[in-house]
Subunit: 427 residues, 2 copies
């Protein structure tokens, strides 16, 4: 029987050159979040379905998840997001943990959906959360980290915008300003979420269905057309959540972060947000969309039967960010982890193994071509693998204890001792 060499639909095979790019992204992420004192955690790929049903929303669990019964009859789901897991973990040690707890993770996540640009069935996501801080300083830190994550991959402030809104403000707008009941509020939030992608006329038509009167639609238009907090209708401008956002913006400016906008339409999908929400948008016309985001969700830990813990966090997907690197031409040059590729010339493989061992002891990463092919074929392999240096080892070199080191990029060759080689390659 011949098996197919195609991987499962919507997943990726990471060949070394692909994995290298992903590792560059992950190590950049780790560097930034660890610079703020975040500690890495991890949880299982599989959880009992109930923890997603409770907060990820029914649609996700029933239609878009990898959900099945295990052999013991348990209803399990391959994690579509990390937040329920981390909330569960904090709840389990609610008393023992020391706060503020700053945690991050880079799990792989699964969604059953039609694969498309920026969305695959399996993807990785950096999750950054802070537990135990109820003040706006948590959001300030998270947005600063989001900004630093962008800078660390080479993005400049003009390439993207950080949009901010508040769920508490949204609640006030729905109940007090637009005077909508629960169900109508829900429809209005869905409408606002889609507004950027809609024609103005279609937006107004749907708005009319919800608001019922032209006066109502006008009120709504006054609201959504506000370019800044100062443009907001007076009734809302003085609301507590607006002051909170203003305070946040002031502190962000102190941190030299200025590419932030207030956006009254920003909703974010998940139901669990309770206050500030934010999203990073790509400004490029070729990629004009949300890159990632997060916010505050103070209620989640308490779902597990413990005293609630104030929580804020965000997640960044690898597929989206790899697209961003592509669109903005920010991909780093490929460079192997291997420093030196040894080509044994003639029947000296045994001695070449000794040379490789000595260079490894000096701290170099050394691949020895142990195939039985000719030297020119071996040389080609080393070059194809993007190894920066080739080292030629033959009878004569072994006798002289000096070997030919070739810099692949410049094509320069030098005859050097082992000590000189290690100095040259890793000064």
């Amino acid at each position: 029987m011949k098996l197919s060499s195609q991987g499962y639909k919507g997943t990726r095979d990471f060949y070394p050159e692909d994995k290298r790019l992903q590792k560059y992204l992950f190590s950049t992420w780790r560097k930034v979040v660890e610079s703020y004192g975040y500690e890495e955690y991890d949880g299982p790929m599989l959880e009992e379905t109930e923890i997603y049903r409770a907060k990820s929303g029914e649609e996700l669990v029933d239609q878009q998840s990898y959900r099945f019964e295990d052999r013991g009859g348990r209803d399990v789901t391959m994690r579509p997001e990390m937040t329920p897991t981390v909330a569960r973990m904090v709840a389990a040690r609610r008393q023992e943990l020391s706060y503020p707890a700053r945690w991050y993770s880079i799990p792989n996540l699964w969604r059953y959906e039609r694969p498309q640009r920026g969305r695959l069935r399996e993807h990785w996501q950096l999750n950054v959360d802070i537990f135990g801080v109820e003040t706006i300083d948590a959001e300030l830190e998270l947005i600063s980290i989001a900004h630093d994550l962008m800078s660390a991959i080479g993005a400049t402030d003009d390439m993207y915008t950080i949009k901010v809104n508040s769920r508490q403000l949204t609640a006030i707008i729905m109940a007090d300003y637009l005077e909508l009941d629960g169900e109508k509020s829900h429809h209005m939030m869905k409408l606002l979420d889609r507004r950027a992608k809609m024609e103005q006329s279609a937006f107004e038509e749907e708005a009319m269905q919800i608001m019922g009167t032209q006066e109502g639609v006008n009120k709504l238009k006054e609201l959504v057309e506000a370019k800044s907090m100062g443009d907001l209708p007076e009734q809302i401008r003085e609301a507590g959540p607006v002051r909170q956002i203003q305070l946040l913006f002031t502190h962000l400016r102190d941190n030299r972060i200025t590419n932030v906008n207030f956006d009254v339409s920003l909703m974010r999908g998940f139901d669990y947000y309770t206050d500030i929400v934010f999203e990073v948008f790509d400004n490029s016309p070729d990629n004009n969309r949300s890159l990632f985001g997060g916010g505050r969700y103070d209620g989640l830990v308490g779902m597990f039967g413990v005293e609630p813990v104030p929580t804020a966090g965000f997640g960044v997907g690898d597929v989206t960010m790899l697209d961003f690197l592509e669109v903005h031409n920010l991909k780093p040059e490929p460079r192997s982890e291997t420093d030196v590729y040894i080509v044994a010339v003639g029947d000296v493989l045994r001695q070449a193994q000794g040379v490789a061992r000595l260079l490894r002891q000096a701290g170099l990463n050394v691949a020895l071509d142990i195939s039985t092919r000719k030297a020119d074929k071996k040389t080609k392999s080393g070059v194809a693998k993007h190894v920066p240096y080739l080292l030629f080892v033959g009878e004569e070199e072994l006798n002289q204890e000096r070997f030919i080191l070739r810099n692949v990029k410049t094509q320069e060759e030098e005859k050097l001792s082992l000590e000189e080689i290690s100095q040259k390659v890793k000064p």
Copy 2:
């Protein structure tokens, strides 16, 4: 509704201190395999079931795997091992890859089984493979790496033994020396696999059932009681595979690896091995068992309808190795990735954020306690997180631009400038 804060059975939650230990193991692994020129790859967590059915064995697929139908009716399995995936990936680019290809990965793997010591439902495994080398130099390199992996975690040669056997030798023994047919060979291999855990009398009884005569049982005993290759029955001693193993042992000695034993009973579970197999055994009486192993499996890539590629490799599980660290008292001391924990004393949070920013720019990992608690509570948090230095920032310190740095271990305190602090913490 109150949700359970327990994770799914047979899985682990990695709190930061657990994750730190796992990261220590993974980074040690990466360092060793990259020093030999191995490149990291990765593949999807989910594969179509047929690729496991073909080679992992029916029992694994039908009884021990996480197998289900996706929403599109495809028969899929959460990977129980990485080898079928890597063989598929190599087959898909059979022509384009440059050989020898040295690849490694650290995937999470799933098995449905009753959780027990050393075996969980989700575990991680270092997979190391070399493609395109048909000579014993591949096995020589892999066993050298296995040895270096043990040294890198602090294991000395007396702590473990590397056992070696050959599937080709086993085939010769079964057919020519014991004169068994296919079915009886299969039973004999299973019996040999269990021999170390059996009473001598039970072993002889089962051997009698397979061999049929006392003469046959005696032949078998002569074989299994051989302590070295020189003790083997003469008929086998001269066989090609024995010479190969002898050559391998000679080269291993050249590499200063001497804790290797020939073991005619070594079978290894998977059906796909074609020649040399090896296994690393823990010598400790508290943990006397196989730690990890591998071998040559030249047939696997060819299953995907391409020309076969010579392949050898091995896998190391994280659960087993964490147990090994425990048993041999080799666990490293916990140390946070965070360098400095800032305690703001009084109403100076805003200024302390500035201090944190400057220290980050100098390359330090800095956590600022942004909670609204008293200074002594903040101090306790920093200590509980195993951060090596605390930094106290108050009005007076801000005016003097000198801050109190406390070394948590020695309890020494010094009043230093920011530049002196970064020098002190990361010289």
